[in-house]
Symmetry: C3
């Protein structure tokens, strides 16, 4: 496989992970198959859709429906195979695939904003983050769950770090944009993976110490 094919494959793996983890997250709510598929699709393509609406660009899945099909099939498999999917090792695999997804999508979202020369340098950071976590946040809102914005898990922070690093590095190495993208996505993935493995939390100085 050449580089674009690897990216595409990783993007699809991320889509699978987004849909599967979404369905597993809402199954305790006694959702039915239809609801599960909606949650899977929303989580998988929601972030990129919001990004494209802000960019006033055509939504990305309109020209490549594989994103939707992969989300639908993954959701159905996760729905009926939830006892299998919830098994610790499979769930763990999904968490790491989710990390692959968010790490890729945060850089990809920033790249798209840069390509459209959108509100640099803040726009690419914001749209990268929206691409990566917008779908998950929408899912939590629809499911009535606490959104990840209110959790102390180290989830959004590695993304923010990765995308800001990317924007700085492509200023320094303007001829190595692709390499820097790969580097920063990889870095983001490893920080997130470390957070999953060692159950890392947001550092204390980023939390309110309530002295009441």
């Amino acid at each position: 496989m050449n580089t674009p094919e690897i990216y595409y494959t990783l993007g699809m793996l991320g889509t699978v992970a987004f849909a599967v983890t979404a369905v597993l997250a809402v199954i305790p709510k006694q959702i039915d198959l239809f609801g599960a598929i909606v949650m899977g699709i929303v989580t998988a393509v929601g972030g990129g859709t919001i990004r494209d609406m802000i960019l006033d660009a055509p939504v990305f899945w309109a020209t490549d429906l594989n994103y939707i099909w992969v989300a639908v099939v993954s959701s159905i498999v996760a729905f009926y195979g939830n006892q299998f999917m919830s098994r610790k090792n499979i769930y763990s695999l999904m968490l790491y695939l989710d990390a692959v997804g968010i790490a890729m999508f945060v850089i990809q979202g920033a790249e798209k904003a840069i390509a459209l020369d959108f509100a640099q340098p803040v726009g690419p950071v914001l749209l990268g983050l929206i691409t990566a976590i917008g779908g998950g946040i929408t899912r939590d809102v629809l499911a009535g769950n606490t959104t990840l914005l209110l959790k102390k898990e180290l989830y959004a922070l590695p993304l923010t770090f990765g995308v800001i690093s990317y924007l700085i590095l492509i200023q320094i190495f303007p001829d190595q944009v692709k390499l820097m993208g790969t580097l920063c996505a990889t870095l983001t993935f490893f920080i997130r993976a470390a957070a999953i493995h060692w159950k890392l939390h947001v550092p204390n100085w980023m939390l309110i110490s309530k002295r009441s």
Copy 2:
């Protein structure tokens, strides 16, 4: 009345039903008149607005403000007449009008996506569903209610069946698009009406059987 006029009238009846049922749904939350009108408008035009934003088309109500006016007046009437509107036979009428609305809007949303050649064949299905249920879901999110995605009522399923039937039938009978639209909307309405009448639920194979 000729066919477009019938469609328009049915669309307005659906708008009335969307607004009235929205207001009745949020009244237990002690909402005030302003909140009730917002909920009525959001429910009545929210789905179509999200559809048009995804399609990157001008929002439909911008060129025909009757949708907004009808939603506002219906909301006010439902707010002050809630004791009258909540009466069993009136509420029942509203449920059936809501069924008219969603059955028409799901086909109409798909038609608009087809007319703009948007992401066929999956795009029309998704945008049809968003047109029909997007407003109701937004209302539930704003009101802090459980969204219909988490309810076992047979609501979204007849819509999905109707819009997929429509897409298949217009492939087979490409010269009978209008007829097939009418047919599938009618079919969708009757399935939903049967679900209301016999209090049908989602079939068991679409539910998770928790064997824990």
Copy 3:
């Protein structure tokens, strides 16, 4: 300062107030710094962003990133200085600055809709309201809080009154658009300020009297 500069300064003060009150509102939820900044940005620019997406116009902050920077810095200051910011006189100041913000943004949103000749006369009213309260509603949804639509506080009503007055007055005095805008924003601010000062609630005839 000339008039546009005064407007710009007031807009930035409103942005500060939106971000600060947002962070103070979510701190009891044990949010971390990242979540606080997201809430601050969403509240400060969310309403205008939704407006621009409905108008199919470029999002306003894309061409003036000061809105984002001011929101980010205000959020960080509010996060770490929350004990200071929560002090009664500071919080009170923020409430009045928030009133400045919503009063300006409701007129500004209407003006933008009028400039684009969008769905007059209802469109400007709706988009003015969305500009002023859309960010706060999105914040409440993301934080899992009851939205202001379900509160009896006199918040949205002064805005509605102000923006409708504006639309009527510019019909009567078409040569005095700027003056009427200033007048109606000021009027809106004073009604809202009165509501804060005397803790005014929505009038009784706008509430449901449940006779059950």
